[in-house]
Amino acid sequence: MIEIRNLDFMYKKSPVFSNINLSFPQGNIYGLLGENGVGKTTLLKLICGLLRPSQGSVYIDGATSYDRHPDMLQRIVFLPDEVTLPDGKTPQQFVDELAPFYPNYAWGTFLHLMEELEVDPNRKFKEMSFGQQKKSLIAATLSLGTDYVLFDEPTNGLDIPSKAQFRQILSRRFEERNTIIISTHQVKDVENLIDPIVILSNSGVLLDASVERIQQKLFFEYGGEKRDDALYSEMQPGGWMNVIPNQSGEESQLNIEALFNAVLRNKNTVRELFS
């Protein structure tokens, strides 16, 4: 379990986080959402111990992550949005260098994933497209066998078929012992995959709820008229979509983009609804 306790973080003397508390129990694929600049990447770096909290702590199974104890480091992997790759090396060489630090690394898994994603593990990074590099990194990340996997914009640079492959690979590889956190703006790429959903803002955590709970609290109405009491309305080809507080208890299909807009525009209402 990842636990963030009373976390403050300052960047060049300006506060990014103030008193953040969040828990990520295992067995879930979390979606971390938020507008540009709210600190999603910073939070991932704080979780895996790359950054030091100004106050408070991040605990991974009880151990402070910034202590960066080898026992903890071998159980977590972070795939940043942008990685400086060793140009002259191949994905196979790259993963061979990482593998000694990860006792659960599975060589077979790496080759299998590379084959599934149709990338040659023995081709140099500099001869690859950005998308192929990204696929290699995703295969490497998931083959390390860590309990904790943090992804920053994993679908960035992937073509349309690979986005579907990414979803399938994650649902196949994901196990009860895993905690996966995906930070992204491309919510359509991971719709139906992420659950629970965490929405960050400059003022802190706006939402931290399972899809089931969101559907119990909010109703997504499709194809009707615009409603005045909606938390958010959007014109769609088939009519208006409205996000309204769920009165009947009946569940409807979650639309994450609409959820995001509804939460951002009605911070206090949403806080009360979910409290």
Binding site: G27, S171, D195, V211, E221, Y222, Q253
Partner: protein
């Protein structure tokens, strides 16, 4: 008047699995596909599919053999049809009636 509802994904998956059971694949008393296989095929969170299976189990359309997996109930088709009949009569038919009135279509027109 259109349907203004879209079911949550876990119920959409349930509908799909029930269609498959009605078509006889898997047949009654056959083993259901695994939660994992359904999740991977649809590219959805395995926990969502788990919720679908729990829902189908609560409706006694499938049953769980501990440690073995989920199986189709012996009277699954009967139960599915009964539920679909109820859904049609209570939810779909009133909307169709409204639309027929709006368009001036009579019951006789439909039965022609």
């Amino acid at each position: 008047m259109e349907f203004r509802k879209q079911k949550p994904i876990y119920l959409q998956i349930a509908d799909r699995l029930m269609e498959q059971i009605l078509s006889g694949e898997p047949a009654e008393d056959d083993r259901m596909p695994s939660v994992r296989d359904v999740a991977v095929n649809m590219g959805v969170n395995p926990n969502t599919v788990m919720r679908t299976f729990e829902q189908l189990q609560s409706e006694e359309i499938i049953y769980n053999r501990r440690g073995v997996g989920y199986f189709v109930s012996p009277d699954a088709k009967k139960r599915i049809l009964a539920e679909q009949r109820r859904e049609f009569l209570e939810e779909e038919l009133p909307l169709i009636k409204q639309k027929m009135q709006m368009l001036g279509i009579t019951f006789e027109d439909v039965m022609k």
